[in-house]
Amino acid sequence: MSGSHRDCEPPYLYPDYRSTVRRAPAREPVRLPAEWFDELPGPVFGRVPVLQTDADLTRQHQGEPLGERIVVSGRVVDSDGRPVRHTLVEVWQANAAGRYVDPVDDHPAPLDPNFTGAGRCLTDGEGRYRFVTVKPGAYPWRNHENAWRPAHIHFSLFGPSLASRLVTQMYFPGDPLMPNDPILQSIPDQRGRDLLVAALDLELTEPEWALGYRWDITLRGRNATPREL
C-alpha cells in the first residue's frame, strides 16, 4: 500500500477531535505477518434477521417521517475490485431536524414519531445496497465553540474477513460544514475525505418522489496490508 493510501485513513490521535486525546492508544500496534493476516476469517453476523422492510427507514411507523426523502445506494467492492456479496450493511442517522432517537442525545430538536433512523440490508449478488430514508439534519456537539456536525449517515459493514470490518460515515456533497468538522478533517488526504462524500445521482433519483445519492464503498481485500497507526 502506498503512502498516499495511508493518508486516506484517520490517525487514532487527532487532538482537534477532543475525545481522541484520552482514548487513542499511545503505543504502536503489534503487527502480524501479512501471510497470517490472510488466514483470519471474519465474523459472520447471522443472528439478526434482515427483512426487506429494514432498508426503508420511511416505512417503519404509521406515518411518513418529515424531511427530504432520499435514496442512498451504491456498490460494495473490496480493494482488489471484487464485489462484496450478501454482506450485512447497517445504517443509523439523525432525523431531518438533527436529532437522534438515542436517549443519550439531548439536543433540543424535535423527535419525529415516524422516524427511528436505523436500518439494515444485505448487499445483492453484485455487491449493491439501497436504502430509502430522509436526509439527516446537522446538529451541534460540544467539541469546540459552535461545533456542528455536517449531515451524515453512519454505516457499518462486515465483509469477508476480520480486516474488512468497517464503521464509517457518509456525508452529502456541498455541505458547508465539512471543512470545519474535525471528524472528517482527521483524514489527512483530501482524496480520502472525498471517498466519504456521496454524489447526487439523477439515475438513482425517483422522479417526483425522492432524490438519489450514490455512495460506493471499498472494503479492505486480501491484498491490502495492515494500516499504520
Binding site: C8, T20, P25, G42, P43, S79, N223
Partner: protein, 172 residues
Amino acid sequence: MVATPRRASSKLSQDHVPTPSQTVGPFFGYALPFDADAGAASGAGALRIEGRLLDGDGKPVPDGMIEVWGGRQFARCSTDAEGAFHFAVTKPGTTRDDEAPHLEVTVFARGLLRHLATRLYFPDEEAANADDRTLNLVDPDRRHTLTAQLDGAVLHFDIRLQGELETVFFAL
C-alpha cells in the same frame, strides 16, 4: 453481469483505495442490534466474560461497543455507564499447534476514529499460550493484557485504551 477479472492489473487495485474509517460516535446504542445477554452461547460449556473499557485516565468509557468473534461465534455488547461489558461464549478450538484458543475482540467508541483489534486468551491454557505464535510477537511484559483473569466463575477482561497497562492492540 460480466464477471470482474480476478487479477485485472495492479492499477485496478491501486484505484480501489479502502473507504476510510470514522468513529461509531455516541449514538449507536438505539440502532444496532445487541443481544440482551450478549450471548453467542448458553447452557453447559458457556463461559461468562466480564470486563470494562477504560480510557487513559482509568475512567470508564460509557459509549463503547465491543464485538467478539471466535469458533464461529459472534457477539456484540455496548458498554454501560461504568464502561462494563459482558459476553457468554464457549471457548473456541484451534486449528494450529502454534495457536492457543482465543477470541478476536474489536473495540469501537466515540473518540476512536478507527476501531481497535485485540485478542482474549484463556488463563487455563498456560502451555498453549506459551507456544502461541501471536503472543510470542508481543513484548513479554505486556502479554498479560491479553489474558483474561479467572474471578470465581467469571473470566475478567478489562480493555485499557491508554496508560501504563494499555492493552495490546494489533495493526489491522
